[in-house]
Amino acid sequence: MSLLRVENVSFAYGRRPTLTDVSLTLDPGRSLGLVGESGSGKTTLLRLILGLERPVSGRILVDGTPVEPRNAAAMRAYRRTVQAVFQDPYSSLDPRQPVRRIVSEPLRALKIEGDHTALVRGALSGVGLDPDILDRLPHEFSGGQRQRIAIARAIVARPRLLLADEAVSALDLGTRIRIIELFQTLATQMTLVFVSHDLGAVAALCDELAILEKGRLVEAGPTRKILQSPQHPYTQQLLGSVPRMPA
């Protein structure tokens, strides 16, 4: 059974449609790259999956259960299943909180029992950080390290579905490669939806691709197949626009 099922989802901010009749499915353990340019609706789709917005029509099912933002009890349970990482590791971490508080936040919010320190140390190791940084503050870390802290927070409650919104876009080239490698490792442990405008990053990371243009899904399928023979003119244009290294 699919872990994620998006069924004929449409959404509009006011009268302006941002997503139109989008459908896709993702099996457990697979990674999906949601690709599109600004205004394509990729971040809106991610917000709908997170339950931060409600579709105007259509529905989203995770693990067979509809995401229902108006049902507070259901949403609390849902937060154990889904976590997210965002673009800017500078604004997503509270500067006054030590790493321990930041990473353990989902454990407290979800009232997860057990030894939180041990879970936080495990999550930090899992993202390639020294577990002994527990009492340090965000400003002591580089952009790449901060993004690792944000990822540790996202995985500490062991979600089944991890959503990443442009999570490597603000990072330098070398750091970007290392964080993509981290996501590759995580993708073996959970299902990943990776939203990005960066086709190279998505190609390096995701099993499957979904290409959005102006709120419509124009092409979806296995990454390799789409890269080798893109069918839709927009996909062809996107791939043709990515600057490549000289031969």
């Binding site: 330098d172 490669i177 086709l199 390096a204 080798q228 600057p243 490549r244």
Partner: protein, 265 residues
């Protein structure tokens, strides 16, 4: 003959070196890329070249633009150089444009300055339209009477380029001009820059962290790491056989993304 000559430039802030002993030359019509990651000092070098360093930064060494020493030059001297000798395009065109002024008036300002400088009288409306056509903006009539927020990011960057061209500079400094743009728009802007630099015989100083983007528009690169030039030379040679470990890591990373996109069966 050189148009821009940077000799032993060192920039420090609060005793911390930000750029150390940097030297390079740019001849008229030449295209040079400054490559580096955030904090490498590439944008500061660009700002220093046109005398726009923040006051907290101390500069030593020498920067010659045209035949004028930039470091320590009075604002009046620098103002004559800006636009006429060197003009700049920055990453975010929204911050370069006045949000409350219609596009046409903004583009007219540097044109009027040039006319004043040359003691010429020009038909401003015609010149504005010609400039918008030069940067391949569709429907100049509509754009002239639009505000910056009413046009797309790519169109705004075309406006910023048009304004940089207005004073007919000999050197165009482009600091991450496509970083904030979508990939298809980026491709269009790179093509435009390439054409304009060629047609107008300008020199180009192109600053970017993105190796394949740099390779599209310049012939020569200087690779900066933490304010120091670690490697310099022809793009083809350096990208084919980088000598410094840092350049090697950058080139390897860029090639990995390329390889992923090739999706070799």
């Amino acid at each position: 003959m050189t148009l821009l000559s940077i000799d032993n430039l060192t920039l420090t802030a609060a005793g911390q070196p930000l750029v150390t002993n940097l030297s390079f030359n740019l001849a008229p019509g030449e295209r040079l890329g400054l490559i580096g990651e955030s904090g490498s000092g590439k944008s500061l070098t660009a700002l220093a070249s046109i005398g726009l360093l923040p006051p907290a930064i101390t500069a030593t060494g020498s920067i010659t633009l045209g035949d004028t020493e930039v470091l320590g030059a009075p604002e009046r001297t620098l103002n004559r150089l800006r636009g006429a000798v060197a003009a700049t395009v920055f990453q975010e065109p929204l911050t370069a444009l006045d949000p409350l002024m219609k596009i046409g008036r903004q583009v007219a300002e540097p044109l009027a300055r040039r006319a004043h400088r040359d003691g010429a009288s020009i038909d401003l409306n015609r010149e504005v339209t010609a400039l918008l056509e030069a940067v391949a903006l569709p429907d100049p009539g509509r754009i002239i009477s639009a505000y910056p927020h009413e046009i797309s990011g790519g169109q705004r960057q075309r406006i910023a380029i048009a304004m940089a061209l207005a004073c007919r500079p000999q050197l165009l400094i482009a600091d991450e001009p496509t970083t904030a743009l979508d990939v298809t728009t980026q491709a269009d802007i790179l093509t435009l820059l390439d054409r304009l630099v060629r047609e107008r015989n300008m020199a180009l100083l192109f600053i970017s962290h993105d190796l394949p983007v740099v390779a599209k528009v310049v012939d020569r690169v200087v690779v900066l790491q933490r304010g120091e030039a670690v490697e310099a030379g022809a793009v083809a040679g350096i990208f084919a056989a980088p000598a410094h470990p840092y350049t090697q890591s950058l080139v390897a990373a860029a090639r990995r993304f390329d390889a992923a996109l090739e999706a070799a069966p």
